[in-house]
């Protein structure tokens, strides 16, 4: 049977596995999924990895590959979006706005985030806090980790009282509660772009990319906490 290799951001693993299951049954095409950090996968594609489809957790790496001519720009689509949420171990809802007293929520603790200069969730989080005018207050109180899941774990373990993660990550962990959602306008749109790798424009790759945008796929993404983009 035809083979398609998909390189995808690790946070999409569960959703993609379900989608791939359905797709394989429907199309008879074999799909292999390799998940890792977007930066890792992008570099591998840059250096000639045998990937057919790449799904990134941020646009920067997709832009980078597009500029390098490693993906086909015309196949590029934004699959889903995500939102940023403020999480904690307990406590009631707060409104995330300029008036939010983050310092009070933090107490003597730290704010768990992904790396604010390097990892998309961290970059978006910093942008949001900056645009809300909260960044200067908390800048020195941020505990940065190498991925969103680790930030979540810090909060879940009680090492940090609050953290900023994607809604898709927060919704599955019973140990944390979502305290509030960041306003959409406070940060650049969070999109997960997908594209076919240059020279891999096969039927299988294209039909998989199409399937990802199909209704059943969207439903699965939605169920995993991702935001389904309007067409």
């Amino acid at each position: 049977a035809e083979q398609v290799t998909v390189f995808a951001a690790a946070s999409m693993k569960t959703a993609l596995e379900k989608i791939i299951d359905d797709f394989e049954k429907a199309s008879g095409i074999d799909v292999t999924l390799s998940v890792a950090g977007s930066s890792v996968l992008a570099r591998q594609i840059e250096y000639g990895a045998p990937a057919d489809v790449f799904i990134s957790a941020n646009s920067d790496w997709m832009d980078h590959l597009e500029n390098a001519g490693r993906i086909s720009g015309e196949s590029r689509v934004d699959l889903v979006g995500n939102t940023l949420v403020l999480i904690g171990r307990e406590g009631g809802q707060v409104e995330v706005s300029e008036n939010l007293n983050l310092l009070q929520l933090l107490g003597s603790g730290r704010l768990a985030m992904a790396l604010v200069e390097a990892v998309p969730a961290g970059i978006y989080g910093k942008a949001a806090l900056t645009s809300l005018g909260l960044w200067d207050d908390v800048q020195t109180k941020v505990a940065q980790v190498d991925n969103v899941r680790a930030a979540l774990a810090l909060v879940a373990q009680g090492a940090a009282p609050i953290g900023i993660v994607y809604a898709s990550d927060a919704h599955a962990d019973p140990r944390v509660v979502v305290l509030g959602q960041f306003p959409k306008m406070s940060h650049p749109p969070i999109h997960y772009p997908a594209a076919v790798v240059t020279g891999r424009m096969t039927n299988g790759a294209l039909s998989f990319l199409n399937y990802l945008q199909s209704q059943p796929a969207r439903a699965i993404f939605g169920a995993q906490g991702f935001q389904v983009l309007e067409d």
């Binding site: 890792a36 991925n147 899941r149 919704h171 599955a172």
Partner: protein, 231 residues
Amino acid sequence: MDWLGPEEWQAVRLSLKVAFWATVFSLPPGILVAHLLARGEFAGKQVLNGLVHLPLVLPPVVTGYLLLVGFGPNGPLGAPLSVLGISFAFRWSGAALAAAIMGFPLMVRAIRLSIETVDPKLEQAAATLGASRFWVFATVTLPMILPGILAGAILAFAKAMGEFGATITFVSNIPGQTQTLPSAIYSFLQVPGGEGAALRLVVVSIMIAMTALITSEILARKLSKRIGGGS
């Protein structure tokens, strides 16, 4: 055991294969380099020593990145090798290469320490009996350092079982081809609710490592009983 899915079993099998071959293939160069470092006197010895330790000092991602750059399909080493039909990129052999390189400093140190404690007087005695340097090594030094070689091998094997950063960076995380146990564990940890599955794999890892350790201890005991007691 039906508590592991087929993909997980695949990861277990692949990890074993990768760790085994990484260990086996790094033994001869490991012994050679250890001998050079222990007994050799040559210009550039310190450079060799530094090179061997490099994978220990650098963050694994860097080592993986360097491997990707060097041994990737278009890399300065990867390209000529691929002409010879040898390719490490995105294959289990690449995972083995990464694991071997990451475990190399550990193996070399263990063997080197053993070589350094072999009494040169015994080697002299072998020389007076007609053994050339090679034969002295093969018939006296080598058998006497078997416990050290075993220790080095078990360290390299354990390291290979646990190696993640360099492997995923170099050969990605393709189930059945390059997805080792640590990569699988990582994948589970990246998605909401994956902790349970990750824990199962951690337990499998520990069991395998314990089996290997205990086997090596029993072997080592046999060896040192044979050698024990002095000359």
